[in-house]
């Protein structure tokens, strides 16, 4: 320990001596640098600063997300027109209160037992999936990690929330938009939000924990934990 300390001292003494020597060099004293810095150095700082901003704001988001197409482009608008009970016709609550999420092929086949129309998407859906009895591998924009506990029943049935509060006007869409998959986490860009800085305009623009808690605080959701009588972690985290 003492040896390394001594070495460190030696180095600092040397450096100090070097700087003194540089300062005493004739000629350099005469140029008055901007803010005490030399011009080229400022230029380099600005280059580094600008480059990293470009990387951070533009290149990084482009690299981070890969663009994927849904297996079949889905027309929500068309289906909600046909469906009697709006969203819940396909996205329903099961008898035990759990949420069905994206319908299985079985539900689709209730209407699509035969080909309906000639649109390329319908042909693809019917020949690739209905005829082969294969589930459509939908890419789920709202998929959260397994550690996130979310109950649709608590929000929709008990809390009387509307679907669009979190999911936005997805029901009006006429085609499936590109699914941007985070290359690191594997989840959709929708979770963090389209805006890389995390700013949002609408309640459905992003779905991180802060967005849950924002609403939970505003709506005064029972925040207390029975065990700890402290903040509301255990409302969602079990």
């Amino acid at each position: 320990m003492s040896t390394s300390d001594e070495k460190a001292n030696e180095v600092s003494v040397d450096e100090a001596a070097g700087e003194e020597a540089a300062a005493s060099t004739p000629g350099i004293e005469e140029k008055k640098p901007f803010l005490g810095l030399e011009k080229p150095i400022v230029v380099f700082f600005i280059i580094g600063f600008a480059a990293s901003l470009i990387v951070g704001w533009i290149i990084f988001p482009k690299l981070l997300y890969s663009q994927k197409e849904q297996p079949v482009s889905f027309n929500h608008a068309l289906h909600t027109e046909e469906a009697e009970e709006n969203c819940t016709s396909c996205h329903y609550f099961r008898a035990d209160g759990s949420f069905s999420g994206i319908p299985k092929l079985e539900s689709c086949k209730e209407c699509h037992d035969d080909i309906l129309g000639e649109s390329p998407n319908e042909v693809k859906f019917f020949t690739e999936y209905v005829m082969k009895n294969r589930e459509v591998p939908w890419l789920v924009y709202s998929k959260q990690p397994d550690c996130v506990f979310f109950s649709h029943a608590a929000h929709v049935l008990a809390g009387n929330m509307e679907c669009y509060t979190c999911h936005g006007p997805i029901g009006e869409s006429t085609e499936s938009r590109v699914y941007e998959e985070n290359r690191i986490t594997g989840y959709s860009r929708d979770i963090w939000g389209k805006n890389i800085a995390g700013f949002k305009k609408n309640s459905w623009d992003r779905m991180k924990m802060d967005d849950c808690s924002e609403c939970h605080v505003r709506e005064n959701v029972n925040q207390g934990s029975v065990q700890t009588e402290k903040g509301g972690c255990f409302v969602c985290h079990h």
Binding site: V42, F45, F49, S52, S98, K208
Partner: protein, 746 residues
């Protein structure tokens, strides 16, 4: 412009400042944290619709109701079924970890044929069509060569439709050799046959008893229907009843009992007779029953008083005279006492004297067919198929003596004597050596005593077929493995388990579709019968096993599919008048099993081995954390074993500190445990809860097959012990074997 060290540093500082003002650090940190919570090897179960399927667990004979939680097509949890008469919502560790037997790595994924020698473990995949034609070809050859009776079928049970199909197959084929393992259930059945004259199962109304005296029975270690027993025990305690445990080792049951009385191993019969002596001498017996419903009580009582004086019993058992008197009085004065026997889980049949003595004790206490007493439940009667037509070969074949001699004049009362298999397979002893053996729901190479002898018996059988779903020890000695569906993939009728107070028929139903290319053993039998043609094919008119089961259960089918069980109230205790089927119509204290000429009710048994060479006695012990039957321990259960049972690959034997001191042994020392049958390395665990002179080894370890989670952990008790034949029943009466502990020279 010169790029020097300063300008470079400036660039880096600028970059750092820019980066800090961009979303990159925050976003990257967030993403990396999510990534780190989602490693590809972290199991994340698929989300989906949750459903529950009720079925019956068939991992042991108890037949507990189970409710399996499923997410989409995948079974994710097994729970006890609420309201089921056997387990009332409870479940044991084996049942709970049953999913590992469904999805575990040691399953056989399709029919396999041995390539090369047995034991080398080299297999080739074959198709079901090839497997069935290979078997039917072999059976056809044997039959036309006059060797039909040399075909044996070893089945884990003889009740239910599959064993009945097997028996029917052997009958029309022409072989008497349907054989199954024997347990205390057989000794109890024989006892009921001899004393009460009924072909029935023993049942006990534990839930209404106020005193349970157990002669070594593992009430909390898997004796009888284990979950039912746990619940009966809790109820007994809640209602202020008492449990008295009598055995040489302090088992979990003993530790939880109101009293634990250690006695010399093997002397339980003498103690039961000593207790009878106290009850008779102090006139504490049920006079109504003895006078009106029993025969030969006077003679029996005289034998007990004359030959089993308390001094003699105290000497044999090592239990104080005063303790025997106090135990006898507690029994005599209890309102609804039950005495039970069958050591540990009762996997060994035991000696018949003990069962007779204990049942006579129950009769003396007047608890035969009473509330809180013993029951004799009729055999299930729902399988009523028309008698098949036998051709000449079949008619001749079924007349041949059984290979194991059960039912012959030597052992007239016994139906199966599997423990004689190694002896009779030896070609010198065999009348007709077995040419082919089929094994279903059993793993004799692991579960039978004297593993080496069993293995060499298997070596001598030219054609062995295993129906196991696992690569277990027996499958490894087979020429063909035709994997059956496992318990959550198949239909199976489950008749009343031993020990239940009422008759319950259960129906196990498929919870998930078969995971691999397996086939129900019933369907394989039907296919083989069809391939053999003629009268054999005609005896099996069903298209599939499921169709056969549905037709057999008839009106019960719909109830069973919906409820998974059916109780028959008609089987409930039906008054003493009709209970006894003996010639006298009464309970016969002196049965055919009793040595009438010498009037001995107790025969001392010598366990194998010389006392000089083997000064100690090795006994097994059972645990709810160790499955020791044909189903191996799933990994969850291995994990629950304590550090004084199994540590790493080494297992422990329990010895008293005094015994250890005499032998100069210390805790955790690795020693050589030898018996006349073999020797193994074990570790010493000192315990005050075992009598000096004894060595106790857990049963259920030491598998050599299955997977890495089970194989080569500890030692198999069965490789150290051999069977000891009961002179009356011929069943295996061994409760231990002489042994020696020796230091290992460094």
């Amino acid at each position: 412009m010169k790029i020097d060290r300063r300008s470079f540093l400036s660039f880096v500082i600028g970059g750092a400042a820019g980066t800090a003002l961009s979303p990159l650090p925050m976003k990257l940190t967030d993403d990396l944290s999510i990534w780190s919570q989602n490693w590809p090897w972290t199991p994340v179960p698929d989300d989906g619709e949750v459903s529950y399927v009720n079925s019956v667990c068939t991992l042991c004979p108890a037949g507990c109701g189970i409710t399996v939680r499923k997410v989409e097509d995948r079974a994710v949890k097994i729970e006890g079924m609420q309201g089921h008469p056997v387990n009332r919502g409870g479940i044991c560790t084996l049942g709970l970890s049953g999913l590992q037997l469904l999805y575990g790595p040691s399953r056989v994924r399709g029919p396999l044929k041995l390539v090369g020698k047995r034991g080398e473990g080299r297999w080739e995949k074959i198709t079901w069509a090839d497997a069935i034609s290979e078997i039917s070809g072999k059976l056809s050859d044997l039959r036309s060569g006059g060797q039909a009776s040399a075909v044996g079928f070893l089945s884990g049970s003889d009740e239910g439709t599959v064993p009945h199909l097997i028996k029917r197959f052997l009958k029309v084929y022409g072989s008497p050799n349907f054989i199954r393992p024997t347990t205390m259930r057989d000794s109890y059945a024989l006892t009921l046959q001899l004393l009460q004259g009924t072909a029935s199962h023993a049942g006990f109304d534990f839930h209404n008893a106020d005193l349970v005296m157990s002669l070594g029975s593992g009430v909390l270690e898997g004796w009888g229907p284990s979950v039912h027993m746990f619940q009966a025990h809790s109820r007994l305690i809640d209602q202020g009843g008492k449990l008295i445990q009598i055995e040489p080792r302090q088992s979990i049951t003993a530790a939880k009992a109101d009293k634990w009385i250690p006695l010399s191993p093997g002397s339980e019969t003498a103690l039961a007779l000593g207790l009878a002596n106290v009850i008779i001498s102090e006139s504490l017996y049920n006079k109504d029953f003895v006078e009106n419903y029993a025969k030969d009580f006077d003679i029996w009582q005289k034998i007990v008083i004359d030959l089993y004086s308390l001094d003699r019993v105290a000497k044999i058992t090592g239990v104080d005279k005063s303790t025997i008197i106090s135990l006898g009085r507690s029994l005599g004065k209890a309102a609804r006492p039950i005495v039970i026997c069958g050591r540990g889980q009762g996997t060994t049949a035991g000696n018949i004297d003990q069962f007779l003595a204990v049942h006579c004790l129950n009769a003396l206490l007047g608890n035969i067919n009473q509330k809180g007493g013993t029951r004799a439940l009729p055999q299930p009667d729902y399988i009523n198929w028309p008698e098949p037509q036998l051709d000449d070969i079949a008619a001749k074949g079924v007349q041949m003596a059984r290979e194991d001699r059960a039912g012959t004049p030597a052992f007239p009362h016994t139906r199966h004597l599997l423990s004689r298999l190694p002896e009779v397979t030896d070609s010198e002893n065999a009348e007709y050596p077995l040419q082919a053996l089929f094994v279903y729901d059993d793993n004799p190479v692991y579960t039978m005593p004297d593993t080496q002898a069993v293995k060499s018996a298997f070596d001598q059988i030219p054609f062995v077929v295993s129906f196991s779903s696992y690569l277990d020890e027996t499958s490894q000695q087979a020429d063909l493995i035709l994997p059956n569906h496992v318990f959550l993939e198949r239909y199976q009728d489950v008749p009343t388990a031993f020990g239940l107070p009422q008759a319950v028929i259960g129906l196990a139903q498929p919870v998930v579709p078969p995971q691999f290319d397996t086939r129900h053993v019933g369907d394989v039998l039907l296919a083989v019968a069809k391939a053999l043609g003629g009268g054999i094919a005609e005896a099996f008119p069903w298209n599939s096993y499921d169709a056969c089961l549905q037709k057999t259960l008839g009106a019960r089918w719909e109830t069973l599919v919906e409820e998974t069980f059916q109780t028959d109230n008609g089987f409930a205790a039906s008054g003493l008048g009709q209970t006894f089927g003996t010639p006298s119509g009464k309970f016969e204290f002196l049965s055919l099993g009793t040595d009438k000429t010498r009037r001995r009710l107790y025969r001392e048994f010598e366990m194998q081995g010389e006392a000089t060479a083997f000064p100690l006695m090795l006994i097994p012990y059972d645990s709810m954390r160790l499955a020791n039957g044909y189903v191996g321990n799933p990994p969850f259960m291995v994990k629950t074993l304590g550090d004084t049972v199994l540590k790493g690959q080494d297992c422990f034997v329990e010895v008293n500190p005094k015994t250890a001191e005499d032998h100069g042994l210390v805790e955790s020392e690795i020693v050589m445990l030898s018996t006349p049958k073999g020797e193994v390395q074990v570790k010493i665990h000192l315990s005050d809860g075992i009598m000096p002179g004894l060595v106790a080894l857990p049963r259920g370890l030491g598998h050599t097959a299955y997977d890495n989670f089970l194989a080569n952990k500890g030692v198999n008790f069965n490789q150290l012990i051999g069977p000891v034949e009961d002179p009356v029943s011929g069943l295996d009466a061994a409760w231990g074997i002489r042994a020696k502990l020796s230091k290992i020279e460094a």
